[in-house]
């Protein structure tokens, strides 16, 4: 295929993704605070599905990985494998202070600390935990950046 054709197809693919991204959620050892706020985005008050965002189970079909937690040593390899299983183009949203800087777990022996030290991160949503609105905002910011 010639480069311009590839470019068009890529744009169509991205547009489809942007309009209906499939999101997978991974907990790398968090206290669950962020995870319950992520889950809350699915429920009626926040209803993230109206943005076309679909939370589902398999990395093989996912466009976006939402990751929480300070990455425990146990979770690190698994996180990398999940990321590797995702097809290109793929994006990562790190939710919560733990994934940015270890949060309160700074220095604890079983923790890597920053999700960005393990896999590339596109968007960080700070907070302990961030509100559902903030999480949705973070994902929407990612989608907007893909549109450009």
């Amino acid at each position: 295929m010639t480069t311009p054709m590839v470019g068009v197809i890529e744009k169509v693919k991205t547009w489809a993704r942007v309009n209906s991204p499939w999101v997978i959620h991974f907990n790398s050892g968090s206290c669950n605070g962020c995870d319950i706020e992520i889950l809350a985005t699915l429920t009626p008050r926040y209803d993230v599905e109206r943005f076309g965002i679909k939370l589902q189970g398999s990395p093989r079909h996912a466009d976006v990985l939402i990751c929480t937690g300070p990455v425990t040593l146990q979770a690190r390899d698994r996180l990398v494998r999940v990321y590797e299983q995702m097809p290109e183009p793929k994006f990562v949203v790190a939710v919560g202070s733990c994934g940015i800087s270890s949060g309160v777990f700074q220095g604890c022996y079983n923790v890597v600390g920053n999700i960005g030290d393990v896999i590339p991160v596109n968007v960080y949503v700070p907070g302990c935990p961030p509100r559902p609105e903030a999480i949705i905002y973070g994902v929407v910011q990612l989608l907007k950046s893909l549109q450009n």
Binding site: N27, N32, I36, A40, R78, G107, C128
Partner: protein, 394 residues
């Protein structure tokens, strides 16, 4: 892949996080013969962060913020258990208003936790409407917690020596209104849980644990009380303001999954009642007592009733401004033991609900299952197992 072939060989069903193709540690392993579970063991560690060690290099005050985050679902009771322990070591009595506000926050947390659990457990059984409804209603208590404490999760209401938040007439009115709404909604859940045929098909007589088993295994919280275990730390060893604002213990005798639902819902009624009392008769006075920076030497045990059951903190001070040792035993750890024992003899299709029934911290949200059939290896996702359960009972 989902066929229930009744071969006599053993299946090992590992319930571990994420990737199916790799039999990783961090899972529950059920050996299954045909449809029946014959043994169970657990491998945790997915969320092990090394916090107990971490406490030894943080000051008593810093540790308050650390211990709040042992669990985001029951963060307030962790902070409370810890603060109480430190206050015992320091031999400091906190003022009555502080105790009442501690109890208020803890009970509001119980509401959010039980409603959260109701939704998640319903989801495990395929009852997604109940999940959506309960989580929508739960937003009422999330709003109240945010109004009172400033955050929806990880409230940081407790300080060493008392509390740092207060309630006024506006907040009290909002709380009372919220309790009225939630009580009415909870009556509806009780109906569903005790009358809906499909629901009962997944819960009645499933996962039963006798009183004897529950006592021997040290089953705590609503899980134990559903089997008739007559323990509730708020009643047996009142702390915070439970002496003045008591709750009644809620037990059942059936010990099955249905009983675990019923007990938690009945606990919600008790919680709404005591929250109203606290708000209507809040004692006046100070919010904190002074705590020294260096905590006197000693060892104390602080126990509170978390939504999941007895939470135990062992604190040891060496007289400095940093702890010598802090040990946390969460209620879920007690109840995993019950699961390992009672899963045996039950059907594979019941596993999702049984696990959900003890209200574990659902940190391993996306769980994968490996089914070993002799030399073949079938890969199931947690979603498959969940669907398997739903299909089985159709």
């Amino acid at each position: 892949m989902m066929g229930a072939e009744n071969k006599p060989e053993k299946f090992v069903v590992s319930i571990g996080p994420q990737h199916p193709a790799l039999k990783e540690p961090g899972h529950f392993e059920f050996a299954v013969e045909g449809e029946i579970v014959t043994s169970a063991t657990a491998r945790l560690g997915f969320v092990h962060r090394g916090m107990e060690k971490g406490t030894e290099s943080r000051t008593w005050v810093q540790n308050l913020y650390l211990m709040e985050r042992v669990c985001g679902i029951c963060s307030a009771v962790h902070a409370m258990a810890y603060a109480q322990g430190v206050e015992k070591l320091a031999k400091v009595e906190i003022p009555p208003r502080a105790r009442a506000i501690r109890e208020l926050v803890a009970e509001l947390e119980r509401v959010h936790s039980h409603l959260l659990w109701l939704g998640v457990a319903a989801h495990e059984g395929g009852f997604d409407t109940l999940f959506m409804l309960s989580w929508r209603d739960r937003e009422t208590v999330m709003d109240l917690l945010e109004t009172i404490t400033g955050n929806r999760v990880n409230y940081s209401a407790n300080v060493l020596g008392g509390v740092k938040i207060d309630i006024d007439d506006t907040k009290s009115a909002a709380i009372l209104k919220g309790m009225d709404f939630l009580e009415q909604r909870t009556k509806h859940y009780m109906k569903v849980v005790t009358e809906d045929e499909t629901f009962l098909g997944r819960t009645r007589n499933i996962g039963a644990m006798t009183l004897e088993q529950a006592l021997r295994l040290g089953s705590v919280g609503p899980t134990g009380r559903a089997s008739g275990v007559p323990y509730d730390v708020r009643v047996d060893a009142p702390y915070a303001a439970y002496q003045d604002f008591p709750v009644s213990i809620v037990t059942d005798t059936a010990g099955d999954l249905e009983a675990r639902f019923v007990v938690r819902i009945k606990e919600l009624y008790e919680t709404y009642r005591v929250i109203r009392e606290l708000v209507e008769h809040m004692p006046a006075g100070e919010l904190t007592a002074r705590i020294p920076r260096r905590i006197p030497e000693g060892e104390v045990i602080s126990r509170v009733e978390a939504p999941r059951g007895e939470l135990l903190y062992f604190l040891k001070s060496n007289g400095s401004d940093m702890p010598e040792r802090i040990k946390v035993r969460t209620p879920s750890l007690c109840n995993w033991g019950s699961i390992l024992a009672t899963a045996v003899g039950h059907k594979l299709a019941d596993m999702p609900m049984i696990l959900a029934g003890i209200d574990p911290c659902f940190s391993c949200n996306d769980r994968m299952i490996v089914v070993n059939r002799g030399s073949d290896q079938s890969l199931w996702t947690w979603e498959d197992l969940r669907q398997y359960g739903i299909e089985y009972y159709k």
